[in-house]
């Protein structure tokens, strides 16, 4: 609830958010560094996939973040549509580039992992395909924001698109998996030889780092968005009121 009251008022948000943005960003970078060190040096090579499995430490958390960021945007869009809260719009808009970046990261690292393991750079595997479609939804969302001439209209249209996308995402995922029943099942958590502590730990650390970085950058982007709006309003106010 304490968080909600900070978010309820843009002015309080601006005065409180800066240290949090820094802490989250720095902690995120540090945690990613630790996780990468664990993944590259401490974790054992996988019995079946050998050292290629190390790619999973950066790949799997980015997939989690791509979905988490979209869920966050959908939540913010709902708040914006129901309570018409300006900060919720800013939050949804600011999370989009970061979410899109994690989605792109997930796609590229997945593709690089796929080549030595599956023997192909791109497989129309159920998961990769649905992440690709999620990436297109992100692009559409960002493009819609940019296409509208006033932020009020853009925010409502983008919120509707985000909610429609969120409702459709499970259906898209289901249909893509039905379409390609040959997709890999969740090997890494089925409890066989490689799901050991030494393998899981780096992944969790990197995921925590990604999450923290996402939080920090989203806060920074929200701050930038609010500052830009204020600058725009100052200019307009001078023109309108002399």
């Amino acid at each position: 609830m304490a968080i909600m009251t900070v978010f309820a008022n843009p002015h309080r948000f601006m005065s409180v958010s800066r240290p949090f943005a820094w802490i989250f960003t720095v902690a995120g970078v540090a945690l990613i560094g630790v996780g990468v060190y664990m993944g590259l040096f401490l974790a054992p090579a996988d019995a079946r996939q050998g050292d290629a499995a190390r790619i999973m430490f950066v790949h799997v958390p980015s997939a989690w973040l791509s979905m988490f960021a979209f869920a966050f945007m959908a939540g913010a869009s709902l708040v914006s549509l129901v309570w018409r809260h300006a900060l919720a719009d800013v939050a949804a808009k600011s999370a989009a580039p970061c979410g899109a970046a994690f989605t792109a990261l997930c796609l590229t690292t997945g593709s690089i992992w796929g080549y030595p393991i599956w023997g192909t750079w791109w497989e129309w595997d159920g998961r990769m395909t649905s992440v690709l479609i999620l990436f297109f939804i992100y692009l559409g969302y960002i493009a819609l924001w940019q296409a509208m001439d006033t932020p009020q209209k853009a925010s409502r249209a983008a919120a509707v698109l985000c909610l429609v996308g969120a409702v459709n995402l499970p259906i898209i995922k289901f249909s893509v998996e039905w379409w390609n029943t040959l997709h890999q099942t969740a090997t890494f958590f089925t409890g066989d030889n490689n799901a050991t502590y030494g393998f899981k730990a780096p992944m969790y650390v990197v995921a925590l780092g990604y999450l923290s970085l996402f939080g920090g950058l989203t806060l920074f982007n929200m701050r930038a968005e609010i500052l830009l709006t204020r600058a725009e309003m100052r200019l307009q106010r001078r023109l309108a009121l002399g």
């Binding site: 309820a8 843009p10 018409r84 204020r230 309003m233 106010r237 309108a240 009121l241």
Partner: protein
């Protein structure tokens, strides 16, 4: 003088505020319109007449305050006639009036009567693109006649109309008011007869948008 007549709708506007961009168009606007009254919104361009009408029509949400348009404790039906006429270029005048008659659940006869009343009978077979600006305005005004609704919200109803058209519209408004209906019209130029003036320039323009509200980023 008020006249309950057939209708009995009352408009109550309470502490209404609207913003456009960074400034308030008006703030703390309160007034009441009783049955049989004609309220004329006046004020220079940009004073918020159109926005006020759109808020009353339910198209735009206000920044603060409330509008209630009620009849027998229920939302009263209203006609909104905006700036744009909503005339289709490829449909004839008659087709468009017939469409709106069907839309409001009225028989086709109503459409013919409305066309005649607005002086468009001779233009019935002309497609929208062949009508002049004044004729398009008349065509839009026929919507008021197609469904009997207590509240009319008119945005510059006589713009582009010739003298004869203006007389015709003023007669419509007077008739509606004498039957107990309410007309709220944004106007420039000469006033409507017997209208009560709501001057938006006397209320506003409000100052800059208050930066403390949750709806603005300050």
């Amino acid at each position: 003088m008020t006249n309950a007549g057939r209708f009995g709708a009352v408009i109550t506007i309470d502490a209404l505020a609207a913003q456009r961009g960074v400034r308030m168009l008006f703030e703390g606007l309160s007034f009441r319109v009783e049955p049989g009254e004609v309220a004329e919104l006046r004020g220079p361009n940009g004073s918020g007449k159109t926005t006020l009408l759109r808020i009353m029509a339910g198209l735009t949400r206000p920044y603060a305050g409330s509008v209630s348009i009620e009849m027998d404790d229920q939302d009263a039906p209203r006609h909104y006639l905006g700036h744009a006429d909503g005339v289709k270029p490829n449909e004839t005048a008659l087709e468009q009036v017939c469409f709106w008659a069907r839309f409001f659940g009225q028989p086709e006869g109503a459409a013919h009567r409305a066309l005649e009343r607005m002086g468009l009978k001779s233009r019935a077979r002309v497609p929208g693109r062949g009508l002049s600006a004044g004729q398009r305005r008349r065509l839009a005004l026929t919507r008021l006649l197609l469904d009997d609704r207590p509240v009319w919200l008119l945005d510059e109803p006589v713009s582009a109309l010739d003298v004869e058209g203006r007389v015709c519209v003023e007669a419509l408004i007077a008739e509606h008011a004498s039957a107990g209906g309410i007309v709220v019209a944004a106007m420039h130029g000469p006033s409507l007869a017997g209208a009560r003036i709501v001057d938006l320039s006397a209320i506003g323009p409000g100052g800059p948008v208050s930066p403390s509200g949750a709806r603005t980023l300050g």
